[in-house]
Subunit: 519 residues, 2 copies
Amino acid sequence: MISPLLGTSFIGYTRSTSATVCGHGVQPGTGTQLEPAYLAASPEEVERAMSLAAAAFPAFSILSGKVRAKFLRDAAAEIEAVVEDIVERGQLETALPEARLRGETGRTTGQLRLFAELIEEGSWVDARIERADPDSKPLPKVDLRSMLRPIGPVAVFCAGNFPLAYSVAGGDTASALAAGCPVVVIAHSSHPGVAEIVASAVVRAARANEMPEGVFSVLYGGGRSVGQTVVKHPAIQAVGFTGSRAGGTALMDTANARPQPIPVYAEMSSINPVVILPGALARGEQALAEGFFGSLTLGVGQFCTNPGLVFLPTGTGEDFLNHLTSLTAVGSPGTMLNAAICNSFVGATARVANTPGVETLASSGKEAGPGQGKPSLFIVSVADFLAHDSLQDEMFGPATLIVRGSLQEIEAAIPHLQGQLTASLHATDEELTAHAGLVHALQQRAGRLIYNGFPTGVQVCNSIVHGGPFPATSDGRSTSVGPMAIFRFCRPVAWQSFPDAALPAELQDANPLGIRRME
Amino acid sequence: MISPLLGTSFIGYTRSTSATVCGHGVQPGTGTQLEPAYLAASPEEVERAMSLAAAAFPAFSILSGKVRAKFLRDAAAEIEAVVEDIVERGQLETALPEARLRGETGRTTGQLRLFAELIEEGSWVDARIERADPDSKPLPKVDLRSMLRPIGPVAVFCAGNFPLAYSVAGGDTASALAAGCPVVVIAHSSHPGVAEIVASAVVRAARANEMPEGVFSVLYGGGRSVGQTVVKHPAIQAVGFTGSRAGGTALMDTANARPQPIPVYAEMSSINPVVILPGALARGEQALAEGFFGSLTLGVGQFCTNPGLVFLPTGTGEDFLNHLTSLTAVGSPGTMLNAAICNSFVGATARVANTPGVETLASSGKEAGPGQGKPSLFIVSVADFLAHDSLQDEMFGPATLIVRGSLQEIEAAIPHLQGQLTASLHATDEELTAHAGLVHALQQRAGRLIYNGFPTGVQVCNSIVHGGPFPATSDGRSTSVGPMAIFRFCRPVAWQSFPDAALPAELQDANPLGIRRME
C-alpha cells in the first residue's frame, strides 16, 4: 500500500476531519470487518464539497479539451500506479478474483483515455455555424452559432457490482469530467477501501494539473442520507447512478421534487431476454447451453447484462434444456459481492419459485457457503409469465427463467416486456428475415440487440449503447458506457451576433481547433 | 373555406362522433362565440387514437427518411393551399394580425420542409460503426453498430400563443413525425378552428402518402382531462408542450408518476434578461430604448422570448429610461390572445406593482379595451429584486422590470436568475472582454446569448437553440426549434453481430444511403 487508508472523505483537496463512523469494508462470506473504520462526512463538509464544486465549475468548464484531457490521462496513469493496492484491497472487500479486478482497472483507465481522446479531438461538441446574411429573404439572417456546453456539477453514485468501472473514476465520472462538469462522488459501502485508493489517485492527478479545487470530491456516509443531501443540493445539475431499481427510482423522485428538477441517469434493472429460434438449436443444443450457462454464471451473475429470461419455443430445445439443467445442477455456488446482494438473490429466487405456474428445473446440488449464490433455473409458460408481472423483476445473480410457448405467443409477449439494456436472438439468417416483426419488437424494448451471442461483456467503443427504456435506465435516450455518455452532461447553447474574439474557440471563424463543424 | 368546419376530433382517418360540446372559438375582446361548437373526443375515441398510434408506430418507424420526408413536404403544401382559410379564421379566433398569421404559416411550412430535408439527407441518425476484429487485444472485438431510433408515439400540446408554428403541425409535430414517431395532438381551446383547418391538411397529406392510420390524430377536449389521459396512456413515449409553467409542471408530474416515466419537453416560462452596459448606452440611448420597446410590445408581448427583465447599472441610462418611460406612457394597449391570458397579465402586473421596493415607472395612459393588455414599466433595486423571488415570475405580456444596481451587484445577481431561453447583452467589444465573467454567468442561465440585439425573433436554422435551464424548459438539454429538436424523440440503439442484410440501411456496409457515419 503506497499510503495507508485513512477512512475519510475527500472534500476537494482536503480530507474530512469527521469522527462519525459509518461503516467498515467487510469481507464477503466471512463477514470479517476490514480496517480502517470509514467516517461519514459531516453536513458542513458535504456543504463545502458542494460549494467547491459550484465555485470550480466556471473555471473548469472553460478549460480547453486538451487541458482536461491531460487531467484524465494523468488520472488513468495514477490509477495504474496503484493497481496492486486495488487488487489486494479489492479481493478482500468484494471477493472478486484478481483477474477481474485487473481487467476492470484496465477498463477504467481505458475509459478515462477514451474520453481524453474524444475531448482532445474536440468535434464531439457538435459545433454549428450559421453566418449572417442581411440580404436573406423573407428575413435577414443573424449570425448564430451553437455547441454543447457542460451542464454543471454532477453527483456520481458508485455501483456495488463494479468497484472500478462504474465507481469513483468510472464511466459516469470520466464522462462528466470530460464534459467540463465537476464531480461529487458518493462512495459505495461495499468497497470503501478501493474507493479511497482510486480517489487518492484522481486527486493526485487533479493537483498535478492544477485543476480548480472542487472539480472532484468523494464522500462517505451512512445509508442514503449523504446521497439524498447531495442530490437535493442546488449546486448539483445532474446525477449518475448504477444500482437497484429501488435506489434509482428514489433518486428520480428526489430529483423531480427539487425546486429545479434535474436529470437523473440511473442504470437500474434489466433481465436481458434471450430468444432462441429452432435454427440456432439445430447448430448444436449442447454448445448453446454451455455458452448460455457461461454468460449466466459469469461473475456469479452480478452483471446488469445478465441473461435472466429465455424464450424457447414449445417442442424445441429439449437437449438444450436438459444440458442446461445438468450444468445448473452441478454448477458451483459463488461468493456474492456483499450480504445484502446475496440475501436479495435468495429472496428473489424463492419468490420466482413460489409464483403460480413456475417450476424449478434445477438448482445447484452443492451446498452454498455463507454469502454464496447458487445457479438456479426456472421454467414457466408464456401465459403464466404474462399473468405475473413480478416475473419481470430482476433476480440479481446466477438465475434465469425459461419461458415456453408457441412462436406466435412469444412474438406477442415481447411488447409486454419492460425496457431492457439488451435483447439477444439466437437464429439463422433466414429466420432473422422471416421473423422481422419479432426483431423489431425486441428493438423497441432494448438498447442493444445481439445476434447469436450473449449479453454479458460490454464492448467500450464509439457505437456502444448501454442504456434502454425504463426500468433498464431512468432515461432510455442515453448510454452510460462509451463516448456518447458525455452527451448526458451537456446542453446546447447558442451565441447570436457575437464578435469572433468573444466566441469559444470551437465556434470562431478560423476554426482554430480544426474540428468538424456544421457550417 | 374549402370545407366547412365540423368541430370534431381526428381519430386517425375517421372523425369523432361525439356530441359533447367542450367549447367554441371565441373572438378576443368582443367575447363573441364562433361557430361551430367543438366537441370533446369520447374516452373510447381517445383510447382508439392511442391504439392506432401504437399500432402505426412499427410500420411508420421503419419507413425510409425519403418516404417520411415526402409526407412532411406534402403536409406543408396542403397547409399552404388553405392559408386563406387560416388567415380568415385565425384573425377571428386569436386577434393576431393577418401579416403575423401569414408569416407564421410560412414558418410552419418552412419547419416541415426543414425536417423533410434533414431526414431525406439522413445523416442526422448519428450512425456509428465498429467492425469486428477477432485479433484485437486484450479482447477480440465484435461488430457493433448504432444509430438513433424513434422513441414511440408522442403527445403534442398546442400552444395558445402560436396557433401554427407551435401547434397542430408546429415544431413538435414536425420533429416527432420526422423522427418516425406517430403524433397525437391535443388542440388548444384558443384556436380550435385553425387547428381543424391545419389538421385536415395534414390528414390529406397522410392519406395521399398512404401513411399507416394513427400516425396523426388531433383531439379536442375540455379542461385538462383529455391531455392528462393521453399523457398517462402507456402508448405515449414522450410529450411536447409549450405553455404556462403551471401547465408544464403538471404534465411533468403526471409523466413522472407513470409506471413507466416518460420525457416531457415543456417550454414554459422565461423572462429573458437584458443587461445593458455603459458602452451600449453611449451609442445612443433613445435608439436603444426604441429597439427595446419594439421587442417588448411585439405581438402584445405574447412571446416566450419577450424581454421581461432589464439590468441597468446605477448612474447610467437616464435618457434610455426617460425615453422608455415616454414610449410606454403613450404606447397602445393591444388585444391579447384570449381572456385568460389577459386576466393573467393584469394580475401579474398588479402583483409586481405591489411588491415592496417596486416602483411603477409608466403604464400606457390610453384606456385598455376589453381583453387588451397595456404596456407597463416597473423599476426595482438589485437588492429588492433578489429579496423577492416572485419578481422572477413571468408577466406574459408587454411588461418589463428594470433592475438597478452597481455593475458588481448585477454580476453577482446573475447566478440567482432562474433558467432562461435567452439572455441579451448590450455592450461594446471591449466591455465584452472586460466582463467575461458576466458573459459566462449569463451563458450558464440561458440557452441563447444575444449580443447587441433583442430576444424576440427566433431564427429557424441548424444552430438555433430554443431551450434553456428549468423553468424556461423542463429539459434544458433540448431545443424545441430547429433540426436538433428531432433528438428529443429518439434514443440510440446498437446492433451487435447482425448480418448486413438484417441491419437498417443506415448501418449497412455499403452505406447505400450515402450518409456521414463514424466508422
